[in-house]
């Protein structure tokens, strides 16, 4: 488990670095896709191939592709004016300060060390996930369905052109 997990962690960090540093937004999205794939692999390592599959299907297959479409529809001129160095320096200071502060707390928290407890195959099965989803947490499930429906309708309403508006 050690080698593959370490490789995926390195890939996740590398993809995230590419995603936040590349000027071309299209390339940044590919960096994000690398991170998402690595995180999906980590989900599989952490005992849930089902969630890993969903991550690949929805994030890599859906969200990333939608973002690529948005870039192609909206960014005619690929290069943007560079961010001012002050802005980047301020953001870097805040982000590094946050990372160091929370990192110290995490290291000092005394999290349990060592390998994870053994997996109980029954409790981790997809069958159990489905049962939990539709029995114990069905209200959340229904609420999420309504949210997705509202998001679809909202996206259509927001991006629709007014019929009387002359197309530019």
């Amino acid at each position: 488990m050690g080698g593959i997990t370490g490789l995926m962690m390195a890939l996740a960090v590398a993809g995230a670095l590419l995603a936040v540093s590349l000027k071309n937004v299209l390339h940044a999205i590919f960096g994000l896709a690398l991170t998402l794939l690595a995180v999906a692999g980590l989900f599989a390592v952490l005992g849930s191939p089902f969630v890993a599959t969903m991550q690949v299907l929805i994030y890599v297959g859906g969200i990333t592709v939608a973002m690529v479409f948005a870039v192609m529809l909206s960014t005619v001129v690929q290069q943007h004016a560079a961010e001012s160095p002050w802005r980047r320096a301020g953001a870097a200071v805040v982000a590094v300060g946050f990372a160091v502060g929370v990192g110290l707390v995490v290291i000092g928290a005394g999290l349990p060390d060592g390998p994870p407890p053994p997996m109980i195959a029954d409790a981790w099965s997809v069958k159990q996930v489905g049962h939990s989803l539709l029995a114990d947490y069905n209200v959340v499930f229904e609420a999420l369905s309504v949210i997705l429906l509202l998001a679809i309708i909202g996206a259509i309403v927001i991006s629709r052109r007014d019929p009387e508006e002359t197309p530019s």
Partner: protein, 102 residues
């Protein structure tokens, strides 16, 4: 690999997302930062779910599934807003969007 490694990895991902949200000007680049932060949160849920002796290990997985669903909804709305900003402005920099400034 212990729990601490996963938590620190997710901290790195979250900080990079935070940096992207604050430093970048392109709206889609900011959206990428938000996705990174959401993924860091999902990774935390899965790691705690696996490493701590939880009573019902499906709860952490369900949290991640709900986060993925909410992220999909969020991206749909955000991309349609970005498209309409582009249609009005021909640019998608955050510094240009200031009509609602008081």
């Amino acid at each position: 690999m212990s729990l601490e490694h996963f938590i620190l990895l997710s901290l790195v991902l979250f900080s990079l997302g935070l940096y992207a949200v604050m430093a970048r000007r392109n709206l889609i680049a900011i959206l990428i930062g938000i996705e990174l932060m959401l993924n860091a949160a999902s990774l935390n849920f899965m790691a705690f779910n696996r490493f701590l002796p939880v009573e019902d290990p499906t709860v952490g997985q369900l949290f991640v599934l709900f986060i993925i669903g909410l992220a999909a909804a969020e991206v749909a709305i955000a991309l349609s807003i970005i498209l309409i900003v582009y249609r009005e402005r021909k640019r998608i920099d955050v510094d240009d969007i200031n009509e609602l400034r008081g």
